[in-house]
């Protein structure tokens, strides 16, 4: 297991992501942040707090559970089974710029599922994907609009992000 980002390195990356997101936002449009469960949710809250501070207004934050939209539900997965959890988006997604947040962008399938889920909730003005870490290996034609760090890993390795809220400390490692 190799740690590629520790807590001290993650914070400036989040600040950088926030700055880049704000740069692209038109002044008169509403923005909202939606995180993909489960670690995307934590990242979304952190980004949301920074965005709110930078824009000087409260940016709504929501959580999306993509289990029902996964494309591997009907194929055998051995012993693991994703659990359906709640989607909590307490605001209207119509006509907003949605910053979709996830921890790692790899195959792109989670982002695809998240977009399908979002479309069932309404019609956003735009959806922009922000991730903390991206790595090569896309299986779908999906790219991040804002990527914090570009990781390299062999195909059989996995890039894992831990956050202090649910794993005890902030770090990104490869195993």
């Amino acid at each position: 297991m190799k740690v590629i980002l520790n807590a001290r390195q993650i914070e400036p990356i989040l600040d950088d992501l926030t700055a880049r997101i704000v740069c692209d936002l038109p002044r008169n449009l509403d923005v909202a942040v939606i995180g993909i469960r489960s670690r995307g949710e934590i990242l979304a809250q952190r980004l949301c707090a920074r965005l709110s501070a930078k824009l000087g207004k409260e940016v709504p934050c929501g959580t999306l559970d993509i289990t029902l939209y996964r494309d591997d539900l009907n194929s055998p997965r051995g012993t693991s089974q994703p659990q359906v959890r709640t989607t909590e988006i307490g605001f209207d997604v119509n006509d907003k710029i949605i910053i979709l947040v996830d921890d790692v962008l790899y195959t792109g399938r989670s982002a695809r599922a998240a977009m399908d889920a979002l479309i069932d909730l309404g019609r956003p003005k735009a959806v922009r994907l922000a991730v903390l870490v991206e790595r090569a290996g896309r299986e779908f034609p999906i790219q991040a609009d804002y990527a914090g760090y570009k990781a390299t890993a062999w195909p059989d390795e996995r890039v894992q992000v831990n956050f202090v809220e649910c794993d005890g400390k902030d770090e990104v490692f490869v195993e």
């Binding site: 993909i36 469960r37 489960s38 670690r39 995307g40 809250q45 949301c48 929501g62 559970d65 289990t67 029902l68 939209y69 996964r70 591997d72 539900l73 009907n74 194929s75 055998p76 051995g78 012993t79 693991s80 089974q81 994703p82 659990q83 359906v84 959890r85 709640t86 989607t87 909590e88 988006i89 307490g90 996830d102 921890d103 790692v104 962008l105 790899y106 195959t107 792109g108 399938r109 989670s110 982002a111 889920a117 069932d120 909730l121 309404g122 991730v131 090569a136 290996g137 896309r138 390299t152 062999w154 195909p155 059989d156 390795e157 996995r158 894992q160 992000v161 809220e165 649910c166 794993d167």
Partner: protein, 391 residues
């Protein structure tokens, strides 16, 4: 062309797990030595005791639900690996507390679908669900139909009267014929106890029991405990009374299994003619006097007097029954202020309970119906998952 970083000496092993890795790591993902299906799970109350962490959330959310969810996220790391492996839901007697809680947790995730503008999600897309109902039902059948539709499944409705069963076709032949047309899930309601189990052993599709004779009605039991859990947080230590025609009630049996497994204390209440003689072998208390029980319980579930099933004369008159066992406004005055009043429906107003009680502030009867939809979506999703993975 995809570029993978080159390796100095030959290719290392590329496992299928690595290739199909999701970008998001979901807590359910296996990590090699994870244990599956551990049944010695801790008490469900633990889920809701851990303090939550600050989270930006939707204001409409109830406090107990948000506290429970925070605790769940925090304890997920400690929770052992669990998978739902049952292809059929035949009854609650054989389910463990962990399995029941898993269904309830899954149902929570499905509630949100019914609040959207597009009330659909795709997990059962392309799957066919048949409602094989040999007994009348509006509530349960419509609930299953709607649940299947919300999951994007195709639904076939089968009513006995308009089918070949009236020409003498057997249950098994009926089911096999439907299966030949490509049915994935059969929801069965039948007058004979064990019908669902029989079907599950003879057809390849998943079977969900929607009521078999007097035996079990598992989705009703699940939605009842879901309703209680949602409001009270946990069933641990709760005192629950089930009142009415116990001997002919599959709802009473399913409720009993679910509630006792989740740690509640259940009391059957009714006239001796309607409580089975073997009740001492069941994990419940018995009372023949509602007035003794009414001030001691946190939840009271009134069962319908099923006039169509009563043989003989179990009580002298319905008026006498409702005098002794009906939930009247007067009796409610002596009940605990936070008592939940439940009824599986349809209500015989004036017999099991007075209208004012049915429509009163303690009544959660309509919540039961609403929760029934989420619970049935969870059940259909889970049995389909078990079948898909098992192939």
């Amino acid at each position: 062309m995809k570029q993978f970083p080159g390796r100095p000496r030959g290719q290392g092993p590329v496992s299928s797990a690595g290739q199909r890795q999701n970008a998001v790591v979901l807590p359910g993902e296996t990590r090699g030595d994870a244990k599956v299906g551990d049944l010695s799970h801790g008490r469900p109350a633990d889920h809701h005791k851990v303090a939550g962490r600050p989270v930006v959330r939707d204001e409409q959310e109830g406090a107990s639900v948000s506290a429970g969810r925070d605790a769940k996220m925090a304890s997920e790391k400690k929770a052992k690996q669990f998978t739902w492996q049952r292809k059929h839901l035949l009854g609650l007697r054989e389910l463990s507390a962990e399995e029941i809680n898993y269904v309830l947790d899954t149902a929570e995730g499905f509630e949100e679908i019914s609040t959207r503008s597009v009330k659909k999600a795709p997990p059962l897309r392309g799957k066919v669900v048949v409602n094989l109902f040999f007994e009348d039902s509006t509530r349960t059948r419509n609930s299953f139909t709607l649940a299947a539709s919300r999951l994007s499944a195709d639904v076939i409705e089968f009513t006995q009267k308009s089918s070949s069963v009236s020409k003498g076709e057997t249950l098994l032949d009926t089911a096999r014929n439907l299966e030949a047309m490509g049915v994935d899930i059969v929801v069965l309601r039948h007058g004979a106890a064990g019908a669902a189990k029989f079907l599950s052993r003879n057809i390849k599709a998943c079977v969900v029991n929607a009521g078999d004779g007097f035996c079990e009605h598992p989705t009703q039991g699940l939605l009842d405990v879901y309703t209680i859990r949602k409001i009270k947080g946990s069933l641990e230590g709760l005192k629950i009374a089930i009142v009415g025609d116990i001997s002919h009630s599959r709802v009473a049996r399913s409720d009993m299994w679910a509630m006792t497994k989740l740690g509640a204390e259940v009391t059957f209440v009714g006239p001796p003619t309607l409580i089975p003689a073997q009740v001492s072998r069941l994990p419940v208390k018995v009372s023949y006097n509602l007035d003794e029980v009414i001030d001691k319980v946190d939840v009271i579930n009134m069962l319908r007097i099923q006039f169509e099933r009563l043989g003989g004369n179990p009580f002298p008159s319905t008026r006498e029954y409702s005098h002794y066992f009906g939930l009247t406004v007067d009796r409610m005055k002596r009940a605990r202020p936070g008592i939940l009043v439940m009824h599986p429906g349809p209500i015989n107003r004036g017999i099991e309970m007075e209208s004012e009680v049915a429509d009163g502030k303690n009544s959660v009867i309509l919540d039961q119906v609403k929760n029934g939809l989420a619970v049935r979506m969870a059940v259909l999703f889970l049995v389909n998952q078990a079948a898909a993975v098992g192939e």
